[in-house]
C-alpha cells in the first residue's frame, strides 16, 4: 500500500478503529488534486523553460551571427590577403578580397580546391610543403620581405607572409590560417627615403652630407695609407642668370644636364652637388696634379659647350678650385675652405678657369670679404661719387657726358670699379647703386644750362632683377630731365640670357625717348645678331681697339670694319679711349661720328666742366 494512502487511512480512522470513508475520500481526493496541480505546474514549467531556452538559444545564435558578420566584414575589407585552408588536405576554405587580388583569381576558383588544382606544379609543391611543415610542427611560419612565389602580378612584389595552425576542440589540426601583406611599396619607399637622405633630389648626385661622409672616410684612409687626393670645388658660372631669366624649370633642366656632364666626365671620382650651383668632386687617390688639372680643364670645356634646354640655347660655364691633401690641409674643414679660396680666385680671374690653391689666396679671400662688407656701407655713408667724362663730335664740340661711378673709400682711397662692381653685381647691391648713379646723373644734367646729353651705364643685373623701367621713369619725373637727353649704355651681357625680355625692355625705354647705346663693342662675343635685332642709337667701340690703332694694323682694320658695318646699319659710332690727335684724325677720316677720351677730357667731377655745361664760373662759384 502506498505510504500516503496508509497515512490517509490512519488519519480517517477513529479511536475505535472505525474508518470514516467520507473523510478518507476527501483526503484521497485532495492528494489527487495536489498531484494534478504539481504535474500541471511541472508541465507548464517544462514547456516555458523549453520556450525560454529556445529564445535564449536563438538570441545567442543571432549574437553569434552578428559577431561573425562583423568579423567577416573586417576580414573581407582589410587590405591584407587572408586565407584559410583545411589543415588535412590544404583545400582553401576562405579567401578575402585582398586575397583575390593577390592570387589574381576570384575566390570561386580557389575555394574547395587544393594548391595542386590551382597553381602550377612547382608552386603547388612549394605551397604544400610549407603547409605540411606548419601542420606537422604546429609552429607558425613567418616570412618577411621575401619575393612573391604565386600571384599574377609576377615575381616583382615583396611580401610578408605568415601561416599558423588552428586546432579543433580536441587539439587536432583543423585550419591553416594565412596572411600575406604586400610590402613592396613600403620597402621601396624606405629605400627611396634612404636614397633621398644622401642624394640631391634634382640631379640625383650625392648631396652635401654624403659628400662630407665620403670626405671623412677618405681622410681616414689617406692618413692610414699615406696617400694623397684632390678636392675640387666647382661653381657654375652665370647659372643664376639663367635661373632668373628663364625661370626655375629651365634652370632645373640645365642643372641636370650640367650635372650629367660632370658625372660622366669625372667618371671614377665622387661627384656631389652640395647646394645651389655648387659641386664638389673627390678625386681618386694618388692622382698627379697634372692629371687633376687635365680633368678640371676638361670639365670646364665640357660644361662650357652650349646646352639646348627646352628650345633655348643656353650656355653656362664652370670655375674650378682645387685643394690637395695633405699639402693644402689635413682636415675636412681646411681642405674645403682652401678649395673654395681657389675657386674664388678662378672666378675672379675671369670665369671658366681652374685654380689650384695657393697660400696667398687666404689673404685675398679675406680682403674680398672685407671689401664686400665695406661696399654695403658705402651707399649709406655717401662714399660714392659720380664723375663725368665729356663726349664730343670729331670736330671737338662737346655734345654730352658719360656718368661714371667712383668709390672714394675712407681708408683705401679710390677703389677701381673693376674691383667693386663685380662684387656689387654678385650680391645684388648694383640695383640700388645703379639707381643712385642714374638719379645723380639725371639730377645733375637737369641743372645744366646747356641741354647736353648724359650717358649712364646699366648692369645686366639691373635688367634681370627689379623693375628698371619703372625706376628710370620715376627718376626722370623726379629730376625733370627730358628723356631725350638720357642715353643708357648696355653691354652684350644684358642680351645674353632672356633675350626676349631684355629686348622688350629696351624697346619700351626707347619708346620713352631714351637712347640706347651698345657699349664695349668688339669685345666678348660681339654677336652681329644683336645689332640686327635691335636698332641701337649708338655703338661704342671699345678703347682697346683705339689705343692699339697706331701699333697693330689689325686694330685699324677692325675699327674700319665696325664703322662700315654700323654705317650700313645706320648707327652712329662713338670711339672710346681717344687720347691722341693721330687717333682722332684716323677716326675722322673713317667717318666716325663721336669720340670720348683724354683728348676730349678725363672723367672728373662736374665742377671741372662748368664751362662746358654753360655755367659761368663766377655764377657757379658765387651765384
Amino acid at each position: 500500500m502506498h505510504r500516503l494512502l496508509a497515512r490517509q487511512i490512519r488519519q480517517a480512522t477513529d479511536e475505535t478503529g472505525q474508518v470514516d470513508v467520507t473523510r478518507l475520500g476527501e483526503l484521497v481526493s485532495a492528494a489527487y488534486e495536489e498531484s494534478d496541480g504539481d504535474r500541471r505546474r511541472t508541465d507548464r514549467a517544462i514547456k516555458l523553460m523549453i520556450e525560454e531556452l529556445e529564445q535564449t538559444h536563438k538570441r545567442a545564435e543571432q549574437d553569434l551571427l552578428r559577431a561573425r558578420e562583423f568579423l567577416d566584414s573586417i576580414i573581407e575589407n582589410i587590405p591584407i590577403a587572408v586565407f584559410a585552408k583545411d589543415a588535412r588536405d590544404s583545400r582553401y576554405v576562405l579567401l578575402n578580397r585582398a586575397g583575390e587580388e593577390y592570387y589574381g583569381m576570384p575566390r570561386e576558383e580557389m575555394l574547395g580546391k587544393t594548391p595542386e588544382q590551382i597553381f602550377p606544379r612547382e608552386i603547388a609543391r612549394a605551397v604544400s610543403e610549407q603547409d605540411r611543415r606548419v601542420v606537422d610542427s604546429g609552429t607558425p611560419m613567418f616570412l618577411e620581405g621575401h619575393l612573391l612565389e604565386v600571384g599574377v602580378n609576377g615575381h616583382d612584389r615583396l611580401v610578408n607572409s605568415r601561416k599558423l595552425l588552428v586546432r579543433d576542440s580536441n587539439g587536432a589540426p583543423q585550419y591553416l590560417v594565412g596572411v600575406i601583406e604586400d610590402v613592396t611599396e613600403r620597402i621601396t619607399n624606405e629605400a627611396r627615403i634612404s636614397h633621398l637622405a644622401h642624394h640631391d633630389a634634382l640631379t640625383d648626385l650625392p648631396n652635401r652630407s654624403a659628400f662630407n661622409a665620403a670626405l671623412e672616410e677618405r681622410l681616414e684612409q689617406a692618413q692610414e695609407g699615406s696617400t694623397s687626393f684632390a678636392v675640387l670645388s666647382l661653381d657654375l658660372d652665370r647659372f643664376k642668370e639663367v635661373n632668373d631669366v628663364f625661370g626655375h624649370p629651365v634652370g632645373d633642366m640645365l642643372m641636370r644636364a650640367a650635372a650629367d656632364r660632370l658625372a660622366a666626365e669625372a667618371d671614377g671620382a665622387f661627384v656631389a652637388r652640395i647646394g645651389g650651383d655648387e659641386f664638389m668632386i673627390l678625386m681618386p687617390d694618388d692622382i698627379r696634379r697634372e692629371d687633376v688639372l687635365t680633368l678640371a680643364e676638361r670639365l670646364v670645356e665640357v660644361i662650357g659647350k652650349e646646352l639646348e634646354v627646352d628650345d633655348y640655347l643656353s650656355q653656362v660655364g664652370v670655375s674650378v678650385g682645387i685643394a690637395v691633401y695633405p699639402d693644402d690641409g689635413v682636415d675636412a674643414a681646411t681642405l674645403l675652405a682652401n678649395a673654395d679660396s681657389a675657386l674664388y680666385r678662378a672666378k675672379r680671374e675671369g670665369r671658366g678657369r681652374v685654380c689650384f690653391f695657393e697660400s696667398e689666396m687666404d689673404q685675398e679671400l679675406r680682403d674680398r670679404r672685407l671689401l664686400q662688407h665695406d661696399l654695403r656701407q658705402a651707399l649709406e655713408q655717401n662714399q660714392f661719387l659720380v664723375y663725368f667724362q665729356p663726349q664730343a663730335r670729331m670736330d671737338g664740340e662737346v655734345i654730352g657726358f658719360e656718368a661714371l661711378l667712383r668709390w672714394n673709400h675712407p681708408t683705401r682711397g679710390f677703389v677701381p670699379p673693376d674691383q667693386f662692381i663685380p662684387l656689387a653685381e654678385e650680391n645684388g647691391l648694383i640695383i640700388q647703386i645703379g639707381e643712385w648713379v642714374l638719379r645723380e646723373a639725371c639730377r645733375e644734367a637737369a641743372s645744366w644750362p646747356r641741354p647736353l646729353q648724359v650717358a649712364v651705364n646699366l648692369s645686366p643685373v639691373q635688367f634681370q632683377a627689379g623693375d628698371l623701367e619703372r625706376a628710370i621713369h620715376q627718376i626722370l619725373l623726379e629730376t625733370g630731365l627730358s628723356p631725350t637727353r638720357l642715353e643708357v649704355e648696355i653691354t652684350e651681357g644684358v642680351l645674353i640670357g632672356d633675350f626676349t625680355r631684355a629686348l622688350n625692355l629696351l624697346r619700351r625705354l626707347k619708346a620713352l625717348g631714351i637712347r640706347i647705346a651698345m657699349d664695349d663693342f668688339g669685345t666678348g662675343y660681339s654677336s652681329l645678331s644683336y645689332l640686327q635685332s635691335f636698332p641701337f642709337d649708338k655703338i661704342k667701340i671699345d678703347r682697346s681697339f683705339i689705343s692699339n690703332l697706331e701699333t697693330t694694323p689689325q686694330s685699324a682694320e677692325i675699327v674700319r670694319a665696325v664703322l662700315s658695318l654700323a654705317h650700313a646699319l645706320n648707327m652712329p659710332v662713338v670711339a672710346e679711349g681717344v687720347e691722341t690727335e693721330a687717333q682722332r684724325a684716323f677716326l675722322e677720316r673713317e667717318a666716325c661720328e663721336e669720340m670720348q677720351g683724354y683728348l676730349v677730357g678725363r672723367p672728373d667731377l662736374i665742377e671741372r666742366y662748368l664751362d662746358l655745361i654753360g655755367v659761368a664760373v663766377e655764377r657757379r662759384l658765387y651765384g
Binding site: D38, R41, A45
Partner: protein, 383 residues
C-alpha cells in the same frame, strides 16, 4: 538533560508526558498565530513553569514527532544538568534596523562559554540576512547560531514571538546556551534543483527585485504559475524559489523565496537583500527530492552530534512554509525522512517557518535560508 513534551488543543487544553523531576530552565513552544495571539497559551505555560524561560513563536504549522498540526500548540520543557541558559529579546523598529537589532541581541548574550545561540525572530518585519549579519558581527564565526523566522501560515499578515511574555509582532528572541557540556549540532539542506535560463537581476532595491532581465519579476512568476495560481501570490510563489549567484561571493549557496508582491509595480520582495547585477535562476522540486533534502539535513545534524551524550536528545526541526505548500499531504514524507536519519531516541519538535537559520554545510557561516529543512540538535555530554 531531561525533556518533557506536551501539547495543547482546544478540546483538552495542555496535556503531556510525565512531569520533570527538576524544574525546567527553558520551555519552547510553537503554535498557529491565532492560537498564540492574546497570550493565553503563554500564561497557561507560565502557570505550569513559573521559574522557566518561556519562548515561542507563531508558525506555518507545528511539528511534533511524526505529525504536523495546525490546530494544536506544541511545547517542550528542558531541564539541563550542567548548562546555563540566558534569554534575551529585542523589539525591532524597522526592517532597516535589522542589523543593529542583531548586534544588540548578540552583545547581551556574548560570553566566553557561549556554546550556541537559538534565535526566533519576527518573520515579516525583519530583514533576516541583516539580522544575522549583526549577530555574527559581534559573536564571530565560531559560535553556532540556528533558529528560524516565525510564520503565519500562507497568509503573510503578522508573525508573533514571545520571550517570557505574551507573543507579539516585531520581536526577536535569542536563547544563549553556556557551558562545556552543552552539545549543539545542526544540519541544513533543501532538495531543490535549478531549471531554466539564468536571469540577470537588472534592478533591485535591497530585498525588492524590480527587474529581472529588464522585466518585472511578477510577469515571470505569472507565466510560470499560470493566472489562476498567480492570484495566490506570494504563497503560490513559494513553489519557485530563486537561486541567487553573486559574483562577489561565488561559493555562497543562496536560495530566496518570495515574501510579498506589489501587483501595481510588478515587483517582488524576498526574505533578504538580492544584489543588483547578480544572476538568478528559478528552482523547483518534486516530493521525493524535497524529502531527500530533509533527510540530508537530519543526517548532517545527527552525524555532527558527538558521542557520550547523557540524557535526552532534542531535535528542533525548522522547515520552510514553501516546502509544506509544495508537498501538501506529502509533507509528512520529509518528517519521516528526518526521523529515519535521527533515529528513535531523539525527541522531535519544530515548525514551518518564513526563514531558516543555520550554517550550511558548505561554508559553516551562519546564514538565513529559504526553502530548506534545518535540524538543530540539543543535548548534554556526560560529566
Amino acid at each position: 538533560m531531561q525533556i518533557q513534551y506536551l501539547h495543547w488543543n482546544a478540546a483538552y487544553g495542555w496535556r503531556g508526558a510525565d512531569a520533570l523531576r527538576e524544574p525546567a530552565q527553558l520551555v519552547l513552544y510553537f503554535g498557529g498565530r491565532e492560537g498564540l495571539a492574546g497570550g493565553d497559551r503563554y500564561r497557561e505555560l507560565r502557570d505550569l513553569y513559573p521559574d522557566s524561560h518561556i519562548v515561542g513563536c507563531s508558525t506555518g504549522g507545528q511539528i511534533h514527532g511524526d505529525d504536523i498540526a495546525d490546530d494544536e500548540v506544541v511545547a517542550v520543557a528542558l531541564c539541563f544538568a550542567r548548562t546555563q541558559v540566558r534569554l534575551v529579546d529585542e523589539v525591532i523598529e524597522s526592517r532597516e534596523a535589522s542589523r543593529a537589532c542583531g548586534a544588540r541581541l548578540a552583545r547581551q548574550v556574548t560570553a566566553e562559554d557561549l556554546a550556541g545561540l537559538f534565535v526566533l525572530s519576527d518573520g515579516l518585519s525583519v530583514n533576516g540576512g541583516e539580522l544575522l549579519a549583526g549577530i555574527t558581527e559581534v559573536l564571530g564565526p565560531d559560535v553556532p547560531v540556528t533558529g528560524g523566522l516565525a510564520g503565519d501560515g500562507t497568509q503573510f499578515e503578522q508573525t508573533l514571538v514571545g520571550a517570557d511574555g505574551e507573543p507579539l509582532p516585531n520581536r526577536v528572541a535569542a536563547i544563549g546556551f553556556y557551558g562545556a557540556s552543552f552539545r549543539f549540532a545542526h544540519g541544513c539542506a533543501g532538495g531543490w534543483d535549478v531549471f531554466g535560463p539564468r536571469r540577470k537581476v537588472t534592478k533591485s532595491e535591497g530585498p525588492v527585485v524590480v527587474e529581472l532581465d529588464g522585466e518585472p519579476p511578477l510577469d515571470l512568476y505569472t507565466r510560470y504559475l499560470g493566472d489562476e495560481e498567480a492570484a495566490a501570490m506570494p504563497g503560490s510563489g513559494l513553489a519557485f524559489p530563486l537561486r541567487i549567484h553573486d559574483e562577489a561571493e561565488p561559493h555562497r549557496q543562496i536560495v530566496r523565496s518570495v515574501f510579498a508582491v506589489d501587483r501595481n509595480a510588478g515587483t517582488l520582495t524576498f526574505a533578504a537583500d538580492i544584489p543588483e547585477g547578480c544572476t538568478a535562476q528559478l528552482m523547483r522540486a518534486n516530493f521525493d527530492s524535497l524529502a531527500a533534502g530533509a533527510g540530508e539535513a537530519g543526517r548532517q545534524a545527527r552525524s555532527a552530534l558527538a558521542d557520550g551524550i547523557e540524557g535526552d536528545k532534542l531535535a528542533i526541526l525548522v522547515s520552510c512554509t514553501g516546502r509544506r505548500r509544495v508537498m501538501g499531504q506529502r509533507t509528512q514524507d520529509e518528517l519521516d525522512a528526518v526521523a529515519a536519519e535521527l533515529g528513535d531516541d531523539v525527541v522531535r519538535i519544530g515548525f514551518y517557518s518564513y526563514g531558516e537559520i543555520a550554517p550550511p554545510a558548505a561554508t559553516g557561516r551562519c546564514e538565513l535560508h529559504n526553502q530548506t529543512m534545518t535540524v538543530t540538535m540539543i543535548a548534554e555530554a556526560a560529566a
